[in-house]
Amino acid sequence: MRTFCLVVASTVAAVALTGCGAGDSQPIGSPLPPTDAAEVLALLESTTQPVIINVWASWCIPCRSEAPLLERAHAQFGDDVRFLGVNVADTQDGARRFIAEFGLSFENLFDAPRSVPAALGGSGVPLTYFFAPGGELVHFQPGVIDERTLALQLDELLQRRGGS
């Protein structure tokens, strides 16, 4: 037991030393454009690219976990797949701080009344929807998304597009 405590204490100490640099002091950007369900549904119907919609809020702890993953996926697949963040039940300030903290470079829209997830089907945050061109829902991920699921569904979107 003493050994176990020692290992845990060492890990926490190492984390403390390496994690001290990560701060929340990035400058915050411009306000997010407001959106609603009708606008997003129209976008999905008219798109010729696969679309990933991630519904998030700045106060949501799991959203923090997946934000860096989504940014990494966007950096890698952003040319072939459209990434769209929809901020819900939040404030403009909170949303902008979150985007600045994680350096999110994909498009984010503001939907305080949660009309988009209500129309797409889903409650709570985070939610991630994978749409084929034309708006066909390929996969819906309620809750936090992990790297494997994200990579698999991205591959599915790209393979379907390639095969069609």
Binding site: T3, L69, D146, L152, E156
Partner: protein, 231 residues
């Protein structure tokens, strides 16, 4: 909240404990080792914690300012650091009797990894890259058939666990070699299946190669140690 990864971890620990019980019944655990079950549970917790903390730091989240994020295991567990955390725990906890202890830990660890990979069934995450093989599986509503890669990994880990267990039962001449072989096999199995796993990067290939190299060094070291001991 998403608990399926924790279920996968629980399945892995349960399988490891089961194999440890088999070893105990067959008298394969050295008396100086103490409780193998405590070591397994401790290593699993240390591995999960270290891997999660590492994943958070790597992705830029400070665990000190956001401690609740540690619990969001699905947000990511770094495989390499998780393995390092588990191995460090074992090395420290069993330091007085390390070589025979790692031999005894080999089969439960491999079986535990089999359980962890089979845990993909809970979360619908067994599928990998596209395949035209007859047993390839498509996800619901899709016509893209894929390798059930995590099932391959689970079966390979189970076979490896059975092999090392059989070796232990026959008697290991070079103490520590069975544990080192288990480590090398774990790296090799992950490496062999990695190309079938969709991922956002190259995957932790370096860690797998390090595990294989450490396993080989361990076997050579065990052999040298056995030869240096008076008969």
């Amino acid at each position: 909240m998403e608990f399926t990864l924790l279920w996968a971890a629980a399945t892995g620990v349960a399988l490891a404990l089961l194999i440890a019980q088999v070893e105990k019944r067959w008298g394969l655990i050295p008396s100086e080792t103490g409780s193998l079950s405590d070591l397994i549970v401790g290593a699993a917790v240390a591995g999960l914690l270290t891997g999660r903390l590492a994943a958070m730091i790597i992705t830029g989240t400070n665990p000190l300012t956001h401690p609740a994020d540690i619990l969001i295991v699905r947000g990511g567990v770094d495989t390499g650091f998780a393995s390092l955390g588990a191995l460090t725990f074992v090395a420290v906890a069993a330091r007085r009797n390390l070589p025979p202890t790692i031999d005894a830990l080999g089969p439960p660890a491999l079986a535990g990894l089999a359980g962890w990979h089979a845990g993909c069934l809970y979360r619908g995450a067994c599928l990998g890259t596209g395949s035209s093989l007859p047993w390839a599986v498509a996800q619901e509503g899709s016509n893209v058939a894929r390798h059930p890669v995590e099932i391959y990994a689970a079966l390979l880990f189970l076979a490896a666990a059975a092999l090392v267990l059989w070796w232990l039962r026959r008697g290991v001449r070079w103490v520590g070699a069975a544990g080192a072989t288990a480590l090398g096999m774990a790296g090799a199995i992950r490496l062999a299946t990695e190309s079938m796993r969709p991922s956002l990067g190259p995957g932790p290939v370096g860690w797998y190669l390090a595990a294989i190299a450490t396993g080989i060094i361990g076997i050579v070291g065990a052999r040298a140690r056995a030869r240096s001991l008076p008969r």
